[in-house]
Amino acid sequence: MVNSLRRSLVVGLPAAIALRPFAAAAQAPLRIEITEGVIEPMPFAAPGFVPDSAEAADLAARITQVVIDDLTGTGLFREIPSNAHIGRITNFDAPVQFADWKAINAQALITGAAGQRGDRVSVRFRLWDVFAQTQLGEGLQFEGTAQAWRRMGHKVADAVYSRLTGEGGYFDSRVAYIAASGPKSARRKQIAVMDYDGANPVMLTDGNALVLTPRISRSASQILYTSYEQGAPRVLMIEAGGGRRQVLDDAQGMTFAPRFSPDGSRAVYSASTGTGSDIFVVDLASRRRAQLTQTASIDTAPAFSNDGGQIVFESDRAGTQQLYVMSAGGGEARRISFGEGRYATPVWSPRGDMIAFTKIVGGRFHIGVMRTDGSNEKLLTASYIDEGPTWAPNGRVLMFFRETPGDTGGPQIYSVDITGRNLRKVPTAGFASDPSWSGLLG
């Protein structure tokens, strides 16, 4: 009886009734299969967080806006603006009038409160399923310094995103990058670090020497980069808060393309050796160094797997630039890219399921993703130059940089999700390239 209705037809309830043959077993539940729906951003309302005091009113409004911007920026949620709201939240602990939010078709409702005492700010919030008239998850409270007020908003948005998508969040994070200024012929480049959304940028170098490829540690505390300040390229390490810089490896002549291991205890990089370059690893505490590849080819752009056990890198050992994976202890490498064109700058997803890369084919640049065995390759972007992907902490979103041609052209940082949707420019004051995304700050 039930099975007679289990066909792959798309049916609404009344249609299912019509299709149903004879009601012999009246108690058997009617089974309906829905195979089509809509894919659209989920509408949510985030009425202004309630300030604990009159002084906190501005803070509460600003934090609310960060939460809204984070969620809408994912492309997965759509804010119902406050001028469309019927209900108002003036007391964080008063019962929610769901009918007011149902009427404007808000599917999720975020209520919150914010307070400030001296240098400390606190924010608490609850997430509601409007149609089920129920709270989703526990309410949470975050505290921090007044200076870090944006982080409070990011933490709320991370918790909401996580509860609604089942994935970890990525908003409370930092991105190292190259800030570029001046004409194309004499570009001034500085190592910089900013919040994931472009806020709070800080310059870490003065721009007097050419710098390349900053790579931030997962904890966002340190940055590795390549500097030409002594003439030849050298990998340096700098504290993300500024200050002390150190050379990673004094023994080699030219070193470049560094990256941290996921736990921040080791770094991989390339060093030029004779005709080509090889891959090295260094333990950051002991400074013990090991050479991982030994070929006449150019082996470079190494990156650790999410568990630190493997390394993906690019090599031209088979004639063209392709991607290879080897154990983090070295040894035999297996080629994983076999498509047309050249592959560069591979990065392993923090979730371990994919590798993102730059692909150059037919004179165009692409950002792509593949499974870690090289299968299921998918190109997400295409342009004159798209380069240097970096993963969001949750492995759902990538940043990269896109360069525009011509004398006035230059690089800008973009983000895109791993389905290829939601391409967005990350706001920076000037040209910006080489993004490197930290983990969640926690």
Binding site: V2, R6, V10, G12, L13, P14, A16, I17, R20, A23, A26, Q27, A28, P29, L30, R31, I32, E33, I34, T35, E36, G37, V38, I39, E40, M42, T74, L76, N105, Q107, D129, F131, A132, Q133, L136, L164, T165, G166, E167, R396, I418, T419
Partner: protein, 92 residues
């Protein structure tokens, strides 16, 4: 009901998240909110199925009441099981 089902496309491997919800309807065609429950897969293999369940629950409730249902056949549609199958809808 498909117009009310916002497929949770942001979820990892969303096309795999087939869920079956059971619900009871009142005689006016309204879904009784508290009656909605996940019946497949049980137990949910991971947290994504919770989000898929919640998306299905929202779909049932947003399109409620189903006032076009024939009253004289209430016994037939009083208890429903709805399969939300996103297999053909989302690519990873």
């Amino acid at each position: 009901m498909q117009r009310c089902w916002n497929v949770p496309a942001g979820l990892r491997d969303a096309q795999e998240l087939r869920v079956v919800l059971a619900a009871e309807l009142a005689a006016d065609g309204a879904v009784i909110s508290g009656s909605i429950r996940l019946i497949e897969p049980v137990p949910a293999p991971d947290s994504r199925f919770q989000q898929a369940y919640e998306a299905g629950r929202r779909a049932l409730l947003r399109c409620s009441p189903y006032s076009e249902l024939p009253r004289d056949k209430f016994a037939q549609w009083r208890n429903i099981e709805v399969v939300f199958n996103p297999e053909g809808m989302v690519s990873w």
